[in-house]
């Protein structure tokens, strides 16, 4: 067998345990390095997001500004703020003092020596501009020949942390971002309760009971995944008006108490992997279906239930169109995904505040995902293998 021969050869290169461990370190380091580089590219838009959230609107629209949050170098002279540039003075770009403020062409006595100067621009002109020396403003204007747009300015790192305060305060609303955060999670948690209870019951029904037409029903269930959402939008909206639910959280929560295809599917697949022996033993002991569900089934499918809860949390967090149409008259009930829209108004786009809000809203779900990840992935493992 050639395979065994090959296998025999390998230890020759890394015979000692130490080598093996070193090799592990090197490979691990390389793989992690590679993943890190990939992750950096993957998260580059987040860099843009974070950077934007800390910028002024002025910087966002200045394409010569650096990528990081920064403020141009400015000085204040006699109550006025001026931009400071590095001005090179030389043969091609001469500069001289203009003490009287008059237009002077070539006063030899007050020419600046060649070199670079840090000067504040007081009057911009296309081919020549006027500057003052911030340290000696009284000396008068310095007339410089050249295009100010070609000058470089020293940007200072200056993150606008007050964007976070402003986004939190929601200046145009009588409530703060905390309300949106609360709404988002209240809608998510109530929906999670509904979806977990109903989907568990339905999945239990589909996996453990002989029901005539069960296959057909299950086929119907799965086919709802393929139904374009728009097909049901208007009639459902009409229905919820009759219920008096428009302008409340109910349309976003109550339907989840009636199970949905994705989660029933997951849970049923998971249940299929759990042997029936334990429920049968419980049944012989006289336990009813509900007791079996509570004491036997649920403890065993906990990872799958946590998965469903996490799936629903992310769903609720991303859902945009439904909260938009059902809560348009109630800004104080809207979740973040819709509330963020107020800074996207046609006449007053505030990209920095949108990103600030989105980042504030992301913190908690990302933490929850990080912590609950184990159960999440384990939940999928079992449901994934088809049986």
């Amino acid at each position: 067998m050639p395979n065994t021969e090959e296998k025999m050869k390998k230890p020759n290169y890394f015979s000692s345990v130490l080598n093996k461990r070193m090799r592990g370190w090197v490979v691990g380091g390389l793989v992690t390095m590679f993943a890190l580089i990939l992750l950096l590219a993957w998260l580059a838009p987040f860099g843009y997001m974070i950077s934007t959230s800390l910028k002024t609107q002025l910087q966002i629209s200045d394409i010569t500004a650096p990528l990081w949050p920064a403020a141009p170098n400015q000085v204040e002279i006699e109550g006025q703020t001026y931009d400071v540039f590095t001005v090179p003075v030389g043969e091609a770009s001469p500069a001289w003092f203009d003490v009287n403020g008059d237009e002077v062409q070539d006063p030899d006595e007050a020419s600046l020596a060649n070199g670079d100067y840090e000067l504040a621009i007081v009057e911009r002109g296309r081919e020549s501009s006027k500057f003052v020396d911030p340290n000696d403003a009284a000396a008068g204007a310095i007339h410089w020949v050249g295009r100010w747009r070609t000058l470089s300015t020293a940007w200072r790192f200056e993150p606008q942390w007050q964007n976070y305060a402003e986004a939190w305060e929601l200046p145009s609303r009588p409530f703060t971002f905390a309300t949106l955060l609360y709404n988002t999670f209240a809608i998510a948690v109530l929906g999670i309760i509904g979806t977990v209870i109903s989907c568990t019951l339905v999945a239990y029904g589909f996996s453990r009971f002989r029901i005539p037409g069960k296959g057909l029903l299950f086929g119907l269930l799965v086919s709802t995944i393929f139904l374009p959402r728009i097909v049901v939008t208007v009639p459902t909206y009409a229905l919820f008006i009759q219920f008096g639910w428009v302008g409340t959280w109910l349309p976003l929560i109550l339907p989840h108490f009636f199970a949905n295809a994705y989660n029933v599917f997951w849970l049923r697949q998971y249940l299929m992997t759990i042997p029936r022996e334990m429920d049968e033993a419980a049944m012989i002991d006289g336990a009813g279906p509900l007791q079996i569900l509570w004491f036997v089934i649920i403890p065993q499918i906990m990872p799958a239930i946590i998965t469903v809860a996490l799936f629903h949390m992310v769903f609720a967090f991303r859902d945009f169109f439904e909260p938009l149409i059902y809560l348009s008259s109630r800004p104080e009930l809207q979740p973040i995904s819709v509330g963020v829209q107020q800074f996207n108004a046609l006449f007053g786009q505030r990209p920095e505040l949108i990103q600030t809000m989105a980042l504030l809203g992301l913190i908690l779900p990302v933490l929850i995902f990080f912590v609950a990840q184990r159960a999440f992935t384990r939940g999928i493992v079992y449901t994934g293998v088809d049986k």
């Binding site: 629209s61 394409i63 009057e123 009759q242 938009l324 108004a345 006449f347």
Partner: protein, 456 residues
């Protein structure tokens, strides 16, 4: 399936069908105050300070009226007509819609209440309005669907800093005045002049202007001219009013409009003094708020945007003339009552409150000039307070005398589809270099004709 469960299923289906079907008629009659819903979104009204002002108006109204509860519903402009359609289709239409302009109303033609009976029964006083502005809201069937509220003339907002930097004189503040070139020669204030000084005001990252041979069109940092936030009709109407549909319902492109599209195309792709789509959607021009960006020297835009720019270095100039004719497109906003309302009297009470008591507060944040004679005096005093540097508001008043008639938002058969089609044309000439404008206009006319023909 067992017989039992079949019956159960059948009952469920019938039950839920009934639930949905009968609801439309059975609106519960509450004993408390009548709820009137006010939908904002088809026009302006979503900026933070506007939200605040509107909420304050609602609070005041509710405090002073026991029998009516006014509820505000604000939706962003880009999803507003979709949201309103959903609500109407589902039988949940709001009672009052606005501020809404001509174009926003066209989408819902025939769904607004005729106010005439209510005006007659309440003896509503119309003497404070110019009769012509009232007739503006009478639709072809004779119904009066709105009352004048605010008008927004358009003009040029120019950035004084950018003019100073270029060493150019400011544009004229009165119709008929010439423009003085840097060398002292006087030229007519027309679109050739716009092109000429527009190119001088267009600068690349190296500081070269658009007339310079080493100008780099790929690195422009400042533009000379733009007609902000309007569709191809709104752009072309500046060369003279017209419409894509003639009196017989046929699709046409008026001659002066064809001239405009050539002028604009050249301005974007040859002379570079008008931003193309790529620049318009960049952060440089704040995703299209070109006046607000401070990087465009002259922007043709309405009064409602007087707060769009945070700087103080701007003033107003009159629109240029084309072939001796000055046209300044006009917007007019009002509030309308939906014909489906269950409570027309109460809705009219709210409407007259918005048009009278609340008018001053709202007009100010909307940026609209009052249509009521009695309110016009205070209006510019408050605007002056908001822009302390001194803005020549007389320009705005003067431009009211040169409205576009027919209005650039006038109705067309199959309105939304026609708009969709001509907007595609705009995206084409603004976004693509090498377009044959005449061929595209011919294609546009053919497509519009088909769209008009398909309307019943």
């Amino acid at each position: 399936m067992t017989k039992h469960s079949q019956i159960l299923l059948g009952l469920l289906v019938v039950g839920s069908l009934l639930l949905a079907a009968c609801g439309a008629a059975a609106t519960p009659t509450p004993s408390g105050p009548v709820t009137i819903r006010w939908f904002v979104g088809l026009g302006t009204g979503q900026q933070p300070e506007q939200l605040e002002a509107q909420e304050a108006v609602v609070a005041e109204f509710n405090a002073s009226h026991d029998d009516i509860e006014l509820v505000l519903e604000v939706v962003n402009n880009d999803v507003a007509s979709d949201t309103l359609s959903t609500e109407i289709a589902a039988g949940n239409a709001p009672d009052i819609v606005g501020p809404v302009g001509v174009a926003g109303s066209n989408l819902f033609t025939g769904l607004f209440l005729d106010l005439q009976p209510l005006i007659d029964s309440t003896n509503y006083d119309l003497s404070d309005y110019d009769p012509a502005t009232v007739e503006f809201y009478r639709d072809p069937s004779g119904a009066l669907t709105g009352l004048p509220f605010g008008v927004y003339p358009s003009f040029i907002y120019y950035n004084t800093t950018l003019f100073d930097e270029a060493g150019l004189n400011y544009p004229p503040h009165a119709v008929g005045e010439p423009y003085v070139m840097p060398d002292g020669t006087e030229v007519e204030w027309n679109y050739d002049t716009i092109r000429e000084i527009g190119m001088l005001l267009t600068v690349d990252a190296n500081g070269a202007d658009a007339t310079s041979p080493d100008f780099d069109p790929a690195n422009i940092v400042q533009f000379g001219w733009h007609t902000q936030w309007t569709d191809p009709r709104g752009e072309a109407t500046q060369f003279g009013a017209g419409n894509f549909v003639d009196a017989d319902g046929n699709a046409v492109v008026p001659d002066q409009w064809a001239d405009y599209y050539h002028w604009a195309y050249e301005g974007i792709w040859t002379d570079h003094f008008i931003p193309n789509d790529t620049y318009l959607n960049s952060d440089l021009l704040v995703q299209g708020n070109t006046f607000g960006s401070g990087h465009v020297a002259m922007v043709a835009l309405h009064l409602w945007c007087h707060g769009c720019y945070s700087g103080t270095d701007f003033n107003l100039a009159v629109m240029p003339a084309n072939n001796g004719v000055t046209t300044a497109k006009l917007h007019a906003d009002t509030f309308k009552i939906m014909a489906s309302t269950q409570h027309p009297e109460q809705a009219f009470t709210v409407l007259s409150y918005l048009l009278d008591e609340a008018a001053n507060d709202l007009l100010l944040v909307y940026g609209a000039m009052p249509a009521r004679f009695s309110l016009q005096g205070d209006y510019f005093t408050t605007l002056d307070a908001a822009h302390a540097q001194g803005v020549d508001w007389d320009v705005a008043v003067a431009m009211l005398g040169y409205p576009d008639n027919p209005n650039h938002e006038a109705n067309m058969p199959n309105f939304a589809r026609a708009v969709e089609r001509y907007n595609e044309f705009q995206s084409l000439y603004r976004g693509t270099e090498g377009v044959d404008i005449d061929a595209e206009l011919a294609r546009l006319v053919a497509d519009l004709q088909a769209i008009f023909d398909s309307a019943e």
